[in-house]
């Protein structure tokens, strides 16, 4: 607590405008958490657009495998000779699309943006625990993005062994062109990225634990903060394992070690590596990889909890259950990684164990879903753009979550593993759902970030086209998977039984193109509104959380005077007896005597006595 008060006096003494801000320190090497959040967001959006365009490219190949598009050659050169994407480049597209989306968009873009923006603002802190580390976190992230994109400008092309880069395919340069310099760059990029996310994560955790304002105990934190906190913990515990795995892979690739390699023969050339196991990589990778999908979805769930509560004008149903289910997911996510490896040939006993832990994770997920539904029940739902996306998230989370029950079952996974069923599953549950959480967050906190409002009507258009098209893209893909069509296939032309899916592929591709075009509405809305949007009011959504008590115009240190004190939980919406349908966290109970409930006082007898006295005095007056 002493550090906080010191921090406060510092700001009171020196005031603002004392230290000059140059363009460079304000916009580029900024240490202000709000600016860093914007940097993360805009970089994330740019990477998302790139990854989306990559996906359109490979969708075109899948839909029209025999057709030539000379324009592709104009843009891609030798990778699309004769206007047709080459198989190697197809795999590169799939790989880089996955990598960018999972790590750069849905981890850094989502968690990075909203952790940076919301943690200090919602817990009542001047800034992050370590603003400098925070800045470094962004710059490592940006460097990682640049290195990854740089791999497109190499002779042999970017990494193309799939985003999970299983060795030996990724470890032996002659296994595929993408495993040459492209894979080296992928690994460098990933080490930088993990460094970035660790710096971010440590910062988030220490800020949340040490710098909450007066009165903000853990059970008064908004669910966004809970989700971001647990996400950061998950990241800190799991990302280092990926680095360990990556370093070993670098050793195998460049220094002749055999951690992952053994008994390899390419053509007739026998490689000298002996004693390693490719399965080791899979264990290390998925030890991160599975928590990673929760790193992706949990912030989205936190954001949607907040948004659904604000816009249903109702407290989130089962706040404690929501937190406990997040904790349950956090813990369980560490012991389910093996469900990615049911058919690797690992001991079947392990398969059984991982099946049990995996299916248990459906319980907290179900609790969250039901709580969302209960929050909507008898609400007074305002369909702000953010709310639409939050409801979309719930829908995707259900649809994708349910198919997870098939894949988590080891015996069903035998036939579904690595097919389009998996593609459909995770694109719904962690792809679309997390992206919708991110978009919901952007629409909701845009006024806080830029002091202006986005155009709601364009946002409606954006939501409906995206929502419908996402289902049109991913729902039919389940059936391809059930028919046994494996993923990462360059063309469906070589197998008789896949021919019947060609028309479906055309349909899916067109839906994807329409969905991509709908993002233009978002991009235009976003960038236009930064400069020309309507000026935002102080509290545009009538929300309770602390961030809406800060001035619309940003200032370093967030609050001009003292940091407000928190008296209540963040979900007092439509409380009976209250004047308005929301009571901000900063309003003490003494000002809301007419709406206080017995459990508000958490057993504080003195407060209960005062409340009873007041009620005794006021009751006859009302009647």
């Amino acid at each position: 607590m002493s550090t906080i008060s010191l921090h406060d006096t510092h700001h009171d003494d020196h005031g603002h405008g004392h230290h000059h801000e140059t363009f460079l320190t304000k916009y580029v090497f900024s240490q202000d958490h709000k600016m860093i959040a914007k940097q993360f967001l805009i970089t994330g959006i740019i990477m998302a657009v790139i990854a989306m365009l990559l996906s359109i490219l490979f969708r075109i190949q899948l839909a029209w495998p025999d057709k030539s598009f000379p324009l592709l050659e104009t843009f891609l050169g030798k990778w699309a000779e004769g206007g047709r994407i080459k198989p190697d480049f197809f795999l590169a597209l799939v790989t880089i699309h996955g990598t960018i989306m999972v790590f750069f968009v849905l981890t850094a873009g989502l968690s990075g943006t909203f952790s940076n923006l919301l943690i200090p603002l919602q817990i009542g802190a001047r800034d992050m625990a370590s603003p400098f580390l925070n800045m470094l976190s962004y710059w490592f992230f940006l460097t990682a993005c640049l290195v990854m994109m740089g791999s497109f400008f190499t002779q042999t092309g970017p990494a193309s062994a799939g985003w999970t880069i299983y060795p030996p395919l990724s470890a032996v340069p002659k296994a595929m062109p993408g495993s040459q310099i492209g894979m080296t760059l992928w690994l460098i990029s990933m080490v930088l990225f993990v460094a970035s996310s660790l710096m971010g994560g440590i910062n988030y955790v220490s800020t949340i634990l040490n710098m909450r304002t007066k009165g903000m105990d853990l059970w008064k934190m908004p669910l966004t903060i809970w989700a971001l906190f647990l996400t950061a913990v998950l990241g800190i515990l799991s990302f280092p394992v990926l680095v360990a795995g990556v370093v070993l892979l670098v050793f195998d690739r460049s220094f002749g070690t055999s951690f992952y390699l053994s008994d390899l023969v390419f053509g007739t050339q026998i490689l000298p590596n002996e004693g390693g196991s490719p399965i080791l990589w899979q264990h290390l990778f998925w030890f991160l990889g599975h928590p990673e999908v929760y790193i992706v979805i949990m912030p989205a769930l936190g954001i949607s909890s907040e948004i659904i509560s604000v816009n249903a004008r109702k407290p989130i149903f089962g706040y404690h259950a929501m937190v406990y289910s997040l904790m349950g997911i956090t813990i369980l996510s560490f012991i389910v990684w093996g469900h990615h490896m049911f058919v690797t040939g690992m001991n079947p006993l392990l398969g059984g164990v991982f099946m049990i832990t995996t299916l248990i994770i459906a319980v907290p997920s179900a609790v969250k879903t039901f709580n969302y539904l209960a929050t909507l029940w008898r609400g007074n739902i305002r369909f702000t753009p953010a709310m639409l996306f939050a409801i979309g998230l719930v829908s995707f989370f259900i649809s994708g979550g349910l198919t997870g029950i098939f894949l988590g079952n080891a015996s069903l996974d035998i036939n579904l593993h690595d097919t389009y069923f998996v593609v459909a599953h995770f694109h719904l549950v962690m792809g679309s759902a997390a992206i919708f959480g991110m978009l919901a967050g952007v629409y909701h906190w845009f006024p806080k970030m830029f002091g202006r409002m986005m155009n709601p009507k364009l946002a409606y258009l954006h939501f409906w086209v995206t929502f419908i098209c996402a289902y049109l893209v991913f729902f039919p893909l389940h059936f391809l998977g059930l028919d046994g069509v494996p993923r990462r296939y360059y063309a469906f032309t070589e197998f008789e039984f896949m021919n019947k899916w060609l028309t479906v592929n055309v349909f899916v591709t067109w839906s994807a193109i329409v969905a991509a075009l709908a993002q233009v509405a978002f991009l235009f809305n976003f960038f236009y509104s930064i400069f020309r949007g309507k000026k935002a009011p102080q509290n545009p959504w009538d929300a309770n959380t602390l961030e809406w008590t800060t001035p619309v115009e940003h200032l370093h240190g967030n609050w001009p005077g003292e940091i407000p004190t928190v008296y209540r939980w963040p979900y007092d919406y439509s409380k009976p007896g209250a004047e308005k349908d929301f009571i901000p966290q900063t309003v003490p109970f003494s000002q809301t005597m007419s709406s206080n409930l017995p459990h508000d006082f958490e057993g504080n007898e003195e407060a209960e006595r005062i409340q009873k006295e007041w009620e005794a005095k006021n009751k006859p007056v009302q009647e």
Partner: protein
């Protein structure tokens, strides 16, 4: 108001200008196309085509902009006239959610019936354990479909019925421990059922008790970029040892012919298995990880270099029976690669035939053994007289390493001959 209208007009004018600029760019493109006819691919029409679509999209944007402006004008007029907000967007979105629910439910029904029936092999699994997997699948499908439909009905119905209204206030209802307990315990119970059944199915697939009267046929499959090599055990029913260090151009599997069990091993171009007899696939890989995937039998297991894995199952329907069942004379069982393995991952296939025991035995007699004369020489084994060897007479091969070297020599000689 007139100012507003002026702005609207200005935006429209600007967009029209943009439009004309693009149209003239189109004209320029045509000229450029005419100039560049010498190129192998005439890019003119291509660019024209691309530009056409870009224009089409811009036109769409223009249309959306006009609609947006019109809406704004409408709302502003209402505002200036002091009337309430013209369009209640809460109601609009709520109605679309309701529509989405109805259309979506029909869409799901359509998907289940149309795409669902397009799944050829889903009618019936062609193996014993596959039928158990299908049972498991059906149970899961029924449960998840019910939950899927119900939760979506609830979600979108709530969105529709509880849309914002000034007359109503939301119901303050922060928690209810009983309800929460119920919807923790019920999913937990349902999942316990699924886990138990899944666990039993899984065990029955991978924990096989060997029946001495009905021993499984061993078949070895070796994957490499991008082909499957099949080895049958021959008369001794045992697939001989192999060692990757012995791999040469003529011994692509690295079979160790010092092991007597290897001598009668047979090479096969396709996988042929007898119906109703257990087969045990011995799976290995030479270079990268592949995945041995036969969807009709519900069989998949990765082939991992440096590790041998096994999948045992019993096919129950012959290819011919399946052809009549599916009424598809072109039907064939298939082996695919399901793990990304390189450029030709999408075309790494092998034909699989399930035949009667008799046909199987007949087919076996036609297969050639792996052991060729060249290999005999390389391994210092007696060579049948009719095939005299020109090379490799001085091979005192004793250790595996020299054997490999000799084999390489042989390969070089063969190359020279060519």
């Amino acid at each position: 108001m007139s100012l507003r209208k002026l702005i609207v007009n200005k935006t429209m004018a600007a967009l029209t200008v943009l439009f004309t600029v693009f149209s003239s760019a189109n004209a320029f493109a045509q000229e450029a196309a005419a100039a560049a006819t010498a190129k192998p691919v005439d890019m003119g029409p291509v660019h024209q085509n691309a530009l056409f679509y870009v224009l089409l999209f811009l036109l769409l944007c223009l249309f959306i902009a006009i609609v947006g402006k019109a809406l704004k004008v409408y709302e502003l007029t209402r505002e200036t006239q002091g009337k309430p907000e013209g369009i209640n967007w809460n109601t609009v979105n709520a109605v679309i959610f309701a529509l989405f629910l109805v259309v979506g439910l029909y869409g799901v029904y359509w998907e289940y019936t149309v795409h669902g029936t397009m799944i050829s092999h889903m009618h019936e699994a062609a193996s014993e354990h596959g039928q158990r997997i299908d049972e498991m699948f059906k149970l899961t499908l029924i449960i998840t479909t019910i939950v899927f439909i119900l939760t979506h009905i609830v979600l979108f119905a709530f969105a529709y019925f509880y849309r914002a209204s000034d007359k109503r206030k939301a119901y303050y209802y922060p928690h209810n421990n009983t309800i929460e307990k119920i919807w923790t315990i019920v999913p937990a119970l349902v999942l316990t059922l699924l886990v138990l059944k899944g666990f039993l199915t899984w065990r029955s697939i991978f924990y096989k008790v060997e029946d001495p009267k009905n021993r499984a046929i061993n078949i070895e499959v070796t994957s490499s970029q991008f082909l499957w090599e099949i080895r049958y055990p021959g008369t001794d029913a045992i697939v001989g040892k192999k060692n990757y260090k012995l791999i040469t151009a003529i011994n692509s599997l690295g079979i160790d012919f010092k092991d007597k069990n290897s001598l009668d091993d047979l090479m096969a171009e396709e996988i042929v298995i007898p119906v109703n007899k257990p087969v045990r696939f011995i799976l290995t890989s030479k270079d990268v990880i592949h995945s041995f995937y036969m969807p009709h039998f519900r069989v998949q297991l990765n082939t991992v270099p440096g590790m041998t894995s096994y999948f045992e199952f019993t096919p129950t329907i012959t290819t011919e029976e399946m052809k009549t069942k599916l009424n598809d004379p072109k039907f064939n069982y298939i082996l695919l690669c399901a793990k990304i393995c390189g450029a030709n991952h999408f075309n790494m296939q092998k034909n699989v035939r399930v035949v009667s025991e008799k046909e199987y035995q007949e087919w076996l007699t036609k297969q050639t053994p792996y052991l060729t004369n060249d290999l005999r020489k390389a391994f210092n084994l007696p060579v049948p007289v009719e095939a005299a060897a020109p090379a490799a007479t001085e091979a005192p091969a004793d250790t595996t390493a020299t054997a490999a070297k000799v084999a390489l020599d042989v390969k070089n000689q063969l190359a020279l001959k060519k």
